[in-house]
């Protein structure tokens, strides 16, 4: 159940051994506080053994899995029959793998005897079969579904002229795959897993061991099962909210070759030559992660001036100062720097991935901060890019415009705090930020983000009620509810959609069901702006009182005193919830230095 063991597990039998030993250990441990996940695997061929391997992969992440393996070739019945053990199991995740041979049946061999019409029918039936399976699941379960696409055959009876046919055999399977991708592109429950690419990655010549197929209907060579489970983990991480947000980078021999303090600006390896290119491309990929919303930070033992000289002035440096949300270049130990970075960015240590070429530094961080993901960089820099591309820590099921800008937003945040270090008076500082708040009702465009904020916001969150997109849509369609979002802009940039409120409208009484603000804009009087707006709207509709609900949690301390400090009166408590009252006639003003834009 720890990361150290993970490195020793290589073969399938190692996994089996580890599985038994963890299982035994868990019998004596309190697992009530650990994350749990229920996974159902439905397959058209034998996948015995996968349960143990996937379990070990989950244990390594600190997750306790419960795995349901569908009956051999029973996937169709299990999905169609609502009383089946699949539905009884109520999985969080369903993995469906149907192999190409099973999908096509005898046509797998006799494809060329079919008339064009029949080929078209075969295509339609194939797509319909998949769609009806998936639709049945969607109707009955909220589980995320991973659907394997189909391995494209490498042989065709027509050989080199397969692709001269109207619809060749190989093209046929490719077309099914592309149709499936198209069909589920906008679906946020169904995810097509590119099994075809997985097979190519490990080599189609090796992926099936034919004697195993004939002896046991095993279609994937057992030695690749751990790799397959690794792919599933890419989905399990976001499912369990274990996505990483920030990359912490060392500099010497990580972002460039050599040591700046010794080799000097002209001596380090960075540029279009063979010894410099691995570092340039490593940086380019990191930059693209930044542009998809990953926060970057530096953690380096160096003289600040020397290192900044490279970052600012080296002609082949790709990552520049404006890409880093936190810069720790000093002679402190790496562990305290990492703690500082997490604190500065207000993100958990478990959101960090640390890159450092120095083994000792890595081991220190692993030991002191086990929550941090430490990447074991290989000795050879030419492999850095490959290792980086293989990380599966940044996946999410959903990707908003805000997510894309996150890397930039955190950099703006660093500049903001640099400004606040100069000024001392908080009001002066806030004035200098030149903020405007854009208030907008729920629309189909912002509903996904509103839902996402209710799922993720923990600190300034009055009730911590988590809502799905469907819930938000229902609220916004219902006249008894009022949902709006706020966007915050300032002179350093756009903070994006960072606050929301959901109000239940009763006869002359409004109840604040949800009221939250993302932590990066807390304490900038946006909270008060939102409240002022609610009261303004309430007054327009001749409401008498506004009720604020507050449900304390372990994490929402920053929201605890808000109602009291803003003139609400505590009128009662039921269960874990406090009720606060504010008479609408009482005056309440917008903070004067914030510009309000209503849409």
């Amino acid at each position: 159940m720890n990361k150290k063991n993970a490195q020793k597990i290589k073969t399938v039998s190692d996994y089996f051994e580890e599985y038994r030993s963890v299982k035994k250990k868990l019998e004596f441990e309190d697992i009530s506080k650990l994350k749990k996940v229920k996974i159902a695997i439905l397959s058209s061929s034998t996948i015995q053994g996968i349960e143990k391997i996937l379990s070990v992969e989950c244990y390594n992440l600190g997750i306790i899995p419960e795995i349901f393996i569908g009956g051999y070739k029973q996937y169709y019945q299990e999905v169609l029959d609502k009383t089946s053990s699949l539905y009884e199991f109520k999985p969080d995740l369903i993995i469906i793998s149907i192999d190409t041979h099973t999908l096509l049946g005898d046509a797998y061999f006799s494809y060329f005897q079919l008339a064009e019409e029949e080929k078209k029918r075969l295509f339609k039936n194939g797509i319909n079969e998949v769609t009806s399976l998936v639709d049945n699941i969607k109707k009955n379960l909220n589980s995320k579904v991973i659907f394997h696409n189909f391995e494209v055959p490498i042989y065709s009876p027509l050989g080199i002229i397969d692709n001269k046919q109207e619809l060749g055999f190989i093209e046929f399977v490719k077309k099914i795959n592309s149709e499936l991708e198209k069909r589920f592109k906008l679906d946020n429950q169904i995810f097509i897993f590119d099994y075809e690419t997985f097979c190519s990655k490990w080599g189609k010549n090796n992926i099936t061991d034919y004697k195993m197929y004939y002896l046991g209907d095993i279609k994937i060579n057992l030695k690749y099962l751990p790799k397959l489970c690794g792919e599933y983990i890419s989905y399990i991480k976001p499912l369990m909210s274990m996505t990483k947000k920030c990359i912490v980078l060392d500099l010497d021999n990580t972002l460039w070759g050599g040591i700046i303090g010794e080799d000097g600006l002209a001596g380090i390896r960075l540029g279009p030559n063979p010894e410099g290119k691995p570092f340039v491309e490593f940086q380019k990929y990191i930059l693209s992660l930044f542009n998809r919303g990953i926060i970057l930070a530096i953690n380096s033992k160096n003289n600040l001036e020397d290192a900044l000289d490279v970052i600012k002035n080296h002609p082949y440096m790709i990552l520049r100062e404006e890409n880093f949300a936190s810069i720790k270049i000093n002679w402190n130990d790496k562990v305290s720097n990492i703690k500082e970075i997490a604190k500065e960015l207000s993100i958990g240590l478990d959101s960090l991935v640390f890159f450092d070429d120095d083994k000792l530094n890595r081991e220190m961080v692993k030991l002191a901060l086990p929550e941090v993901e430490v990447v074991d960089l290989p000795e050879d820099p030419s492999l850095y890019l490959k290792v980086l591309m293989e990380l599966n820590d940044f996946n999410s099921f959903y990707f908003s415009e805000e997510d894309k800008k996150k890397g930039v937003m955190y950099v703006d945040q660093r500049r903001r705090s640099e400004l606040s270090e100069v000024g001392t008076d908080i009001t002066e500082y806030l004035k200098a930020l030149d903020m405007s708040v854009v208030i907008e009702r729920a629309t189909p465009f912002n509903i996904p983000r509103i839902s996402q904020l209710t799922q993720k916001t923990n600190q300034f969150n009055m009730t911590t009620r988590r809502y799905l997109e469907e819930n938000i849509k229902q609220f916004s369609d219902n006249n008894n509810y009022f949902v709006f979002s706020v966007k915050v802009e300032d002179k350093f940039g756009d903070n994006g959609l960072t606050g929301i409120a959901i109000i239940e409208k009763k006869e002359r009484k409004w109840i604040i069901d949800s009221f939250l603000l993302s932590c990066r804009v807390i304490g900038r009087r946006i909270e008060e702006t939102i409240l002022a707006y609610i009261l303004e709207e309430a007054e327009k509709e001749k409401v008498d009182v506004l009720i604020g609900e507050f449900i304390p949690t372990k994490k929402n301390d920053p929201a605890k005193d808000f109602y009291r400090k803003n003139g609400f009166e505590l009128i009662g408590e039921k269960k874990d919830m406090q009720l606060w009252k504010f008479p609408v006639e009482k005056s309440y003003k917008y903070p004067e230095f914030i510009k309000i834009v209503k849409k």
């Binding site: 190692d14 038994r20 034998t46 004697k211 195993m212 004939y214 002896l215 046991g216 057992l222 030695k223």
Partner: protein, 77 residues
């Protein structure tokens, strides 16, 4: 023999010192049809050999495995 025993022990959940040439599905509970294939797969990877389908089908006990490995040039004492 040591490598072989290690793999047998891991796959079949038996102690390495309990393993003899006569160890077989008849006296090892976990030696079922799936684990038999798992065993072959692990041996192939460890010793870098490929068994034929017939060889796999003929395995009745550990002694048979040793014979096949010998045939593939792996000397098991």
């Amino acid at each position: 023999m040591k490598k072989l025993k290690k793999i047998l022990a891991k796959v079949l959940e038996v102690g390495e010192d309990e393993i003899t040439k006569e160890t077989s599905p008849n006296n090892v509970e976990n030696w079922d049809s799936f684990n038999a294939l798992m065993l072959v797969s692990e041996l192939e990877n460890e010793f870098n050999v490929k068994f034929t389908m017939d060889e796999v089908r003929q395995i009745k006990n550990v002694g048979d495995i040793m014979k096949i490995l010998n045939k593939h040039g792996i000397k098991i004492a």
